[in-house]
């Protein structure tokens, strides 16, 4: 056969070979991702109670959502939680990573101790922290009383303290993020610091002008992951407070879950899911767009 035909033939063979290897993933992708997403969109426009087939109703669900008091409540709760947990989490994890990055002895022990809590399954974490935050017998209030605090808060039973308690709990699981920051910090070329020293820069200025820009890709990565994760907070509040007291810890995904599996309003839950997806996409796009301003990739 001619040369070009031979090339076409081998190109097709290459494509078939590639697709053959990808086939398990492709089949799963279609069956467990594409089809569900399409179905989910369709359900969001329907009345679907599971006992009867979905009934197309147009934008009714979205309309109802907009006027749903609980929807706005859970959206607000999730936003407040995110606004507290994200910046604080970032500060704590970055700070601890920088602390670990100081060349002192015993690094591996400190690192292991800080990382260990993040291995705990959320369900076990929930039990543990329920016990720790127990108003009367919990370690936290025992500690506070020992420090002289006469009336430590009721934590998970108190509308004002339940959310802060959850934010505090989120710090315990920061081990992953800390280690990633540590890896990024250790990648910063020493020459940059040396050059800064020669220029007479103080430690603070070094951090601002050398460290932070150098690890900005890592910060960006962790930020995206954190946004996506924080907006879906479910397990800890579900087990610990079931959304209480007085819905102060009732979050978006929990309401979604209740709509789907407790109230059997699958259409409504699907609409909620799509709103959530759009919010996540919007925030991620925002972060990506803003990253041009503050993320410096090596090699510039």
């Amino acid at each position: 056969m001619s040369k070009s035909m031979a090339r076409l033939h081998s190109e097709t063979r290459a494509t078939l070979r590639g697709l053959a290897f990808l086939s398990p993933w492709l089949i799963g992708f279609i069956a467990f991702t594409i089809v569900p997403i399409a179905l989910s969109l369709y359900y969001s426009f329907c009345d679907y109670s599971l006992i009867q087939p979905p009934l197309y109703k147009g934008l009714v669900n979205y309309h109802l959502l907009f006027h749903d008091v609980v929807f706005w409540k859970v959206l607000r709760n999730t936003a407040i939680y995110a606004l507290m947990a994200l910046p604080l989490g970032m500060l704590v994890s970055l700070g601890l990573a920088m602390l670990l990055n100081l060349k002192i002895s015993g690094l591996s022990i400190y690192r292991a101790a800080i990382f260990l809590p993040s291995l705990v399954p959320a369900a076990a974490s929930a039990m543990l922290w329920l016990w720790l935050f127990n108003a009367k017998l919990g370690l936290i209030n025992v500690f506070l009383r020992a420090l002289g605090v006469t009336n430590p808060p009721d934590w998970l039973m108190d509308v004002r303290w339940s959310m802060p308690a959850l934010v505090l709990m989120s710090f315990w699981g920061l081990g992953n993020t800390i280690i990633i920051y540590l890896a990024g910090l250790q990648d910063v070329p020493r020459e940059l610091y040396e050059a800064a020293s020669i220029d007479g820069a103080s430690a603070a200025r070094k951090v601002w002008h050398v460290t932070l820009p150098s690890i900005s890709p890592v910060i960006f990565f962790n930020l995206i992951i954190a946004i996506i994760g924080t907006l879906q907070v479910f397990v800890l509040p579900y087990i610990m407070t079931k959304g209480g007291p007085a819905r102060s810890t009732y979050f978006y995904t929990m309401y979604l879950y209740d709509n789907a599996f407790s109230y059997l309003k699958m259409g409504y839950a699907s609409a909620m899911a799509w709103v959530q997806l759009l919010i996540v996409l919007a925030l991620t796009a925002l972060a990506a767009w803003s990253s041009k301003k503050w993320v410096h990739y090596a090699g510039n």
Binding site: W25, P36, Y43, L102, I104, A112, L137, I239, L256, Q276
Partner: protein, 316 residues
């Protein structure tokens, strides 16, 4: 797909984190901090305080798990259990309405099936993305990566109805069995595919080339050359897949229906909501048991991962 996003994203972080754990152990830590003794002491004391904060919950959990019920409700609470109730750990397995042994078995079954499935299928897909050239490869790769950003709630409801439909139309039950928790894993997981693809790309192409010249089939190259070389990466994938399944809560919550089917995470919660006043000592003992495998694997994996990093020194 049963793992919720938190599982997946934290797994992503976990792998990167263990990677760097190994790396910094192997690389020499340069000495010569210009900080004086005062600065060093301050750093150490700060770190020690943080470590105490990080580890104290574990200690308290252990302490509570070894107390009697009365000791747990004593006010003010005491620190050392007196006398130490080792039998609490046995009592955990003999609770009515809480079959811990069964739950452990369930979790193990799902974990083994799931880990085997995801490791194998992700490796196959990763090979396609890493070692083969064909049209549309990069586009498909980006598409695959983007699936990692989809929040689980979006697919949660349709997957539920999908499995129900499968049960109704194929005569094989899906809901209320373990299948939804491990079968999807046999079709690759985006994150594992990504990880293994990165690793496969570091293997020199000459190895594949010479095998092809020798007439080896593509799958043969994959199975006999690439896979054995990838053992460290496969170990990491298996390790974190195991942890993700062990820790998964939302998946079992949605798909499992009867207490006999529960996994440990689901059962633990069930255990708590049973009796009127919570038996904190038993609950803590049960929690310790649930946490144990992860802790053990961590101490084991640290070593095996260092070896993995060392052997992949061929990369750098």
């Amino acid at each position: 797909m049963s793992s919720d996003m938190t599982n997946r994203t934290s797994t992503l972080q976990k792998v990167s984190s263990v990677a760097s754990l190994g790396a910094t152990d192997v690389a020499s830590v340069p000495r010569g901090s210009r900080k004086g003794l005062g600065g060093r002491l301050f750093a150490h004391s700060l770190l020690i305080a943080v470590c105490i904060a990080a580890l104290m919950p574990f200690v308290w959990m252990l302490s509570t798990s070894l107390k009697t019920l009365e000791a747990t409700t004593a006010f003010p609470p005491t620190f050392w259990p007196h006398p130490i109730q080792w039998h609490n750990y046995l009592d955990v397995f003999h609770q009515e309405h809480a079959n811990f042994l069964l739950w452990t078995r369930n979790t193990l079954v799902i974990a083994v099936l799931g880990v085997a499935g995801t490791t194998l299928s992700s490796a196959i897909a990763a090979y396609g993305f890493a070692r083969l050239r064909f049209r549309g490869r990069n586009a498909l790769f980006v598409l695959m990566l983007s699936t990692m950003m989809i929040p689980f709630p979006v697919t949660m409801v349709p997957l539920f109805t999908l499995f129900r439909w499968l049960g109704d139309h194929t005569g094989i039950a899906w809901l209320g069995t373990f299948k939804p928790l491990w079968v999807p894993l046999w079709f690759g997981s985006a994150f594992n595919i990504f990880l293994l693809r990165q690793f496969f790309m570091t293997i020199p192409t000459e190895l594949s080339e010479s095998a092809r010249i020798d007439g080896c089939s593509e799958f043969g190259i994959f199975w006999r050359i690439i896979l054995p070389l990838a053992r460290p990466a496969l170990a990491v994938v298996a390790l974190f897949a195991f942890l993700a399944i062990w820790n998964d809560f939302l998946g079992p919550l949605v798909y499992l229906q009867r207490p006999e089917q529960f996994t440990l995470t689901l059962g633990l919660q069930n255990f708590q909501s049973q009796s009127g006043g919570t038996s904190w000592h038993l609950l803590m003992a049960a929690s310790v048991l649930v946490i144990l495998p992860a802790i053990l694997l961590f101490f084991l994996a640290q070593k095996s991962f260092i070896e993995g990093i060392a052997t992949t020194g061929l990369k750098g």
